[in-house]
Every structure is written in C-alpha cells, then in structure tokens.
C-alpha cells in the first residue's frame, strides 16, 4: 500500500512539473496522463500565485504587457516557488530573476522596477512606528549634533539604480504618464510608509549615501562626511529637514542618551 509520504511526494512533483502525468494512486479519470481533474490543482496553484504577483508588480506588468508578465511569472514560480505559507511578501527575488530572464534583456531596467515594487510591498507590511517631528531635533545641543545617531523607520527601504527609477515608476504607474524620462540618468529612491500610505521619493544627490549610513548606525557627522564625498554640494540641514518631513526618523540618540543606556 502506498504510504502517505510517497503519495504526497509524487503529488507535489506532478504539481510543479506539468510534463509529468497525474500521480499514481489517484482514481479513475484523474489517472489520464493530462487529467483535467488533476489539472484543477495545477491551475489553482499557478493562477493564484500569478494573481498575487500581478498585484505586487503592476508597473512591471504595465511595462511588458499582460501576456509577457504571465509567462515570466510562471517561469519564476516554477523556479522559485513560495517557501512560506505567508504569501504577503512573495516575489522578493523577482527582480534578480528578471535581470537574467533572456526574453526581457531588451528592457534592462525591468529588474530595478520589480525591486522597487517589492520594496513598496515590504514597506506596506513593515512594523508601525510613529515618526518624530523635526522640532525634536532642536532639543539636541549644537555641539552634540555630529555625534548624534538617528533611528530610522522600520518601513524605510533605499534603492539605487543606474536607470531613472523614480521617473520610470511614476511614468508606468499612471501618476505621471507623459513625463519625459532621461534614460542616461541614474536615480536613487527612498520607499517609506510613515502612516498608512507607502511613499516613493526621489532622493537628491548625496541622499542615498547619507541615509544608508544613518541606517547602518553611523552618526550624523560620519553620514554627512560620506555624503559630501559623493556630492561636494551636500547640505546637511536641507537633507535633515527632508528626512524628517518624509517621516523617516523614529528616535534620536544623542551621545548623552547613549551613555545613559550604557
């Protein structure tokens, strides 16, 4: 008699590989090599996962068209099926899959657009924390500013692209469909959900370096130094204001407070 383990192994293998016949041990009509009965399970799996990916990657889908997207998603799902029953953030690796997906090589920025859309999804489900207003920074003494650290919002995601990512995204999600996109110009973006809605913001020069240093736990002084190296015109006050306005700061750790904690 067939053991449960063997039966489920055969069933699972046939689900993921459409070239395989329906698994042995199923009854009557379901036994036919291309059984429509067994195919219900194959279709349920594929259709529901494709639908989830369509919801996550609307801009990618708009760029390549619905049929192309479905075919790409199908290949991706067979190659990298979900590894968790929580599908909320399925598709993390779709961007790198698209980078190497031969039929899409004429659209080299597709992977970056997918990474941006996944970052939006990830930010959507990230933990909730109330952002601090910039007024709180006024309490930090000027002499301590350099050695102060900022804790950033758990939903903050940074992306840098050799393509104009923010412009491409705006052009493909319907918010600025007719905007000119200069493909020669790379862009960096911050994705953030300070309250209920996810924001995608184009970062000014030096912004990516500045914020990623802060996110890595560096002090304001160190982060500003790094930003100046990549952009001599970097202005700390402007960038700090932008960061707070975005709702990206959730805590301010002055050296004194650090000391207290220690």
């Amino acid at each position: 008699m067939q053991k449960l383990a063997d039966q489920q192994a055969a069933f699972a293998a046939a689900l993921i590989d459409p070239a395989l016949p329906a698994p042995p041990g199923v009854r009557r009509q379901a036994k036919l090599p291309q059984s429509r009965r067994f195919d219900v399970y194959r279709n349920n799996m594929m259709a529901s996962l494709i639908e989830a990916m369509e919801a996550t990657f609307p801009a990618v889908r708009r760029l390549v068209g619905s049929d192309f997207f479905k075919a790409a998603a199908k290949t991706y799902i067979r190659r990298e099926p979900p590894r968790s029953p929580v599908l909320l953030t399925y598709g993390e690796t779709f961007g790198s899959f698209l980078d190497d997906f031969a039929p899409a090589k004429g659209v080299p920025y597709l992977g970056d657009v997918a990474r941006l859309e996944w970052a939006r999804l990830d930010a959507y489900h990230a933990a909730d924390v109330e952002p601090l207003p910039i007024a709180r920074l006024a309490a930090v003494h000027e002499s301590e500013l350099e050695s102060t650290k900022l804790r950033l919002h758990p939903s903050l995601r940074l992306l840098r692209s050799r393509f104009p990512l923010a412009s491409l995204w705006a052009a493909s999600n319907g918010t600025a469909p007719s905007a000119e996109v200069n493909m020669q110009c790379g862009e960096a973006v911050a994705v953030l959900r300070p309250a209920l809605a996810v924001d995608v913001r184009l970062l000014p020069p030096g912004g990516y370096e500045f914020i990623s240093q802060l996110a890595a736990g560096e002090t304001l002084g160190e982060a500003a130094d790094r930003a100046v190296q990549s952009n001599v015109g970097f202005d700390l006050a402007t960038h700090l204001q932008g960061l707070f306005e975005l709702g990206a700061v959730v805590a301010i750790d002055t050296p004194r407070r650090e000391l207290q904690k220690a």
Binding site: M1, Q2, K3, L4, A5, Q7, Q8, A9, F11, A12, L15, I16, A22, G25, V26, R27, Q29, A30, L32, Q34, S35, R36, R37, F38, V40, Y41, N44, M45, S48, L49, A52, P81, P82, R83, S84, P85, V86, L87, L88, T89, Y124, H125, A126, A127, D128, P154, S155, R193, L196
Partner: protein, 299 residues
Amino acid sequence: MAVSAAIPARAGVGLKAQHYDAVLGERPDVGWFEVHAENYMGAGGPPHHYLAAIRRDYPLSLHGVGLSIGADGPLDEAHLARFRTLVERYEPGLVSEHLAWSTHNGVFFNDLLPVAYTAEAVARVSEHIDRIQEVLGRRILLENPSTYVAFENSEMSELDFLRTVVLRTGCGLLLDVNNVLVSATNQGYGADDYIDGFPLDSVGEIHLGGHARDRDDAGDSLLIDAHDRAVNDKVWALYARTIARGGAKPSLIEWDNDVPAWRMLFAEMRTADRLMSTQAALRRDRLEAGSEAERAKAG
C-alpha cells in the same frame, strides 16, 4: 477589544480589503467577520490597522489556510507560533483550518490538496490537530474539503475520517456546504446523504460559497470551488437541510475572487440569516406538533 469574542449563531461575512472602508463607514448589522489568518501575518501596516478597528465592533473568526494539517511532514512550528500571536492579538471567537495539505518539502503550493482517507492519515492529521490545539490553547474546527481527485488506497469515507479525527482530538468541525456539493458531484456520491450523515453536533461553523462548473476528460460534470460568485440554489437547499436538522449555526458567506460590492455580500448574508430564522420557526412548529402528538398519545 470592545465587543465580546463569541461568534453568534447568525450569518457572517468573509472580510476583504476592498470592504474595509464600507464596513468602518457604515457599521453594517453583520453578526461577525472572518479573515484568512495568513493575510494578517505581516509585522504592521494597513491590514492590522483596519482589522483592529473592525474587531473593536465585531466578533472575529480566524480561518487558517496554511497550517497544512494533512501533510505527512511535520507542522511548521514557526507558522504555528505566528498563528498563536494572531490569536492572542485579536481574540477570535472561532479558529478553523482545513482537512488538506499545502506544503511539501518546504514548498508552499497555495492550494488545499487532498488527503487519502487511510488510518495512517487519520493518525497524522490527529497528531497535527493535537499539537495545534495545544499551542493555541483552544479547540479548533476542521473543514471538510472540496476535492477533484480521490485516492485508490482510501480505506474509509470522508465522513468516517472526520468522525474519527473528532473522536481522537476533540476538535470541532466546520461544515462547508459548497464543498459538500463540489466533492459529492466530483466523486459521485449524494450530497443530501452526506449532509444527513454529517455529525452536526460537532459543527461550530458553516461555510457558504459559490462554485464554477467544468467538465472532466470523460465529459462528466466537474465543479470547482472558486469562491468567485453568489451562492448557488443547490447550495442554499443543502444549507436549509443542514440547519433544519442541526439548528442555527454561525454561517459565513465566502467570496474571495471577483469580489463584488459590499451591498451584494451583505445581501447574501441576509439570505443566510433569513433561512436560519425560517428553519428555526419550522423547527419550533415541528417540535410543538410533535409534543402535541405526544400529549394526544399520552391522553
């Protein structure tokens, strides 16, 4: 939590994100809501924001789709821990899962896959339910599946399988009436007989949903549990048959795909409520008629 957790014996609605605003804006007279647990397993964000707001005003039922109770492999303990966190946070009145498997070797298939009805599977499913009930610290309801294939090595009927698991684990049952019609049609047995044999005393909840029609390779009718349309008349008739015998039970309208406007779902829910009060009145009449006949016999 402002409202009691207990799920009343009336109709409820499967809560969809499309209807958050309608529900919070109109505060409709709905007995309770049900959500898929896995949709609320993110750290934060709008899903929790809206669910917390809705839970303040309505009892909630948590319906899992990913615990893979029917799998031969072990339960995913990390997933079970996430489930417990959700139960602690939202204090649901009912918790339910499926007689099905969805994970094998770490791959999640996002579908409810069929189990062979063998003694080995009874043992495995019962172990898994014991563990889930131990971790969650409460009884769960197990849902009868909709199936498209059956297994040659099955040793018992689905009803016997469910009865045995209930005896072994003390779990309750979730009777999905649409699944009964889908499986009965696909496997060639009588849906009425199945309902008549179902252990209704163990049923803590009923599901009602829509199905699609197809044909299999032999041209025989094949029903698909699509949850993408209104409840079919045959399903309503089976539902009436169920509550005529078992009395009113928490009854959920499930509509997960091609989700309609809120008022359409609300209308379906009202239909279920009406059927429950009609059947309750008929039951009363029957009982009174019965006791009169008893008295007449005694006199």
